[in-house]
Symmetry: C2
Subunit: 240 residues, 2 copies
């Protein structure tokens, strides 16, 4: 059976404007690979309701699982929860289960309960809460979309909460071999290797360092012995 | 007149598998912001012809300019040029102008001219070449899509070649104010500020450091004096 497929939706004006670098994508990609889920697409859209709705509907229809990050805080620019509810035709309001979590946390931390803070308990009617052990305010799963916070510590904790609920496939294994030659010199034998191992994915990633050209060859697949065999042939053809 | 809009298409299995972090997106986002071009969406897809064709057609139709990175080298997994030609119904072959550039460079560097290396001269029939001062092999512009290399040094050089050919708008200015409080405490006055300045984009980015919650407020717009005025009101409301 092929591995389940996934996409990520990053909601973030601050990434599109170049103010910050996204960190969550790299974390999710690594976790999914380990879990045997095949991340096939990432989209980054701005904090715009129409953009979020169009993107999440397209990704939800095309992939088994969708993971979103960003826009579920208490401020005016946090429109993700309302957008998700609208995308899937659900009503949204402060929900009792989420309110109870937040009230218990605020009371324990002696933080005033305000209307703004209670916005974080707005959850679509049929969504399932995602546990947030870092800062309490929950994420949620709506249809096949896991809606999570953008703050990296919270995002990572929510990914850890969600992943065990998803049936993964075989972890994707990979080995890397560095060759101190440009891609042009190795393209032909590498293409032959790719033809001889159609079940493996053989990627070629050129780099340039101190004026020298080199290439990292990454061989990926789910069969470790087959990767070993291809890697041995590669090393024989291009000894260190 | 509103600023021109843009999208980026990153072609890269190695990012989706979590092997590498994308660096080109952050660079392009910063350059476009300076140039007055509004980056509204990024998509990352795998090295798959159908995925590339579908994504580039959608982005080309929706935005004024599209910038792609990755997959234009000489190896078997470099399928971007052929995918772009197919997406826009153009033929593709080794083109004389690109061949001349590569042959001159190979001859100068005493590098053998092979069929694999000449794959880098495959350019769609009606595309315009993008200069590559780093490693010669050109990118190209097809319709409104600028197709560039994935190696960061080459990508950045190609962006520098392309940007002067695009008429930008007003540069997007931004100022940041850091508040040592969580978002919940500032959400209400911040929402009021956003209502009072509808022409500015006021974003709120929570962070957590050493167990303390804080928020970066970023005010963006094209009118510097208006940003100053909003920033002054913010600083009065939340003095350091």
């Amino acid at each position: 059976m092929p591995n389940p497929t996934a996409a990520m939706l990053v909601i973030g004006d601050e990434i599109l404007s170049g103010r910050t670098r996204d960190a969550n994508m790299h974390h999710l990609a690594q976790e999914l690979t380990k879990h045997g889920v095949d991340l096939q697409e990432v989209r980054i859209v701005s904090d715009d309701k129409t953009a979020i709705i169009n993107a999440v509907r397209a990704l939800s229809a095309a992939y088994d699982e969708v993971f979103s990050s960003g826009g579920i805080g208490p401020t005016h620019d946090d429109i993700t929860a309302d957008s998700m509810a609208e995308a899937f035709g659900q009503s949204i309001d402060v929900r009792d289960d989420a309110r109870a979590l937040l009230e218990a946390s605020f009371t324990r931390r002696k933080v005033e309960i305000t209307e703004a803070r209670m916005r974080m308990a707005r959850i679509p009617a049929k969504a399932k809460l995602i546990d947030n052990p870092v800062s309490t305010a929950p994420g949620f799963t709506i249809e096949n979309v896991h809606v999570m916070a953008g703050v990296p510590q919270v995002f990572e904790a929510m990914v850890a909460s969600v992943l065990p609920t998803i049936t993964g496939g075989q972890p994707l294994l990979s080995q890397t071999y560095r060759i101190q030659r440009g891609e042009g010199e190795i393209a032909e034998p590498l293409g032959q290797l790719a033809k001889d191992y159609p079940d493996l994915s053989i990627g070629s990633y050129p780099y340039q360092r101190d004026g020298l050209y080199g290439t990292n060859i990454v061989i990926r697949g789910t069969d470790g012995a087959m990767i070993d065999a291809a890697m041995t042939r590669l090393a024989e053809r291009f000894p260190k």
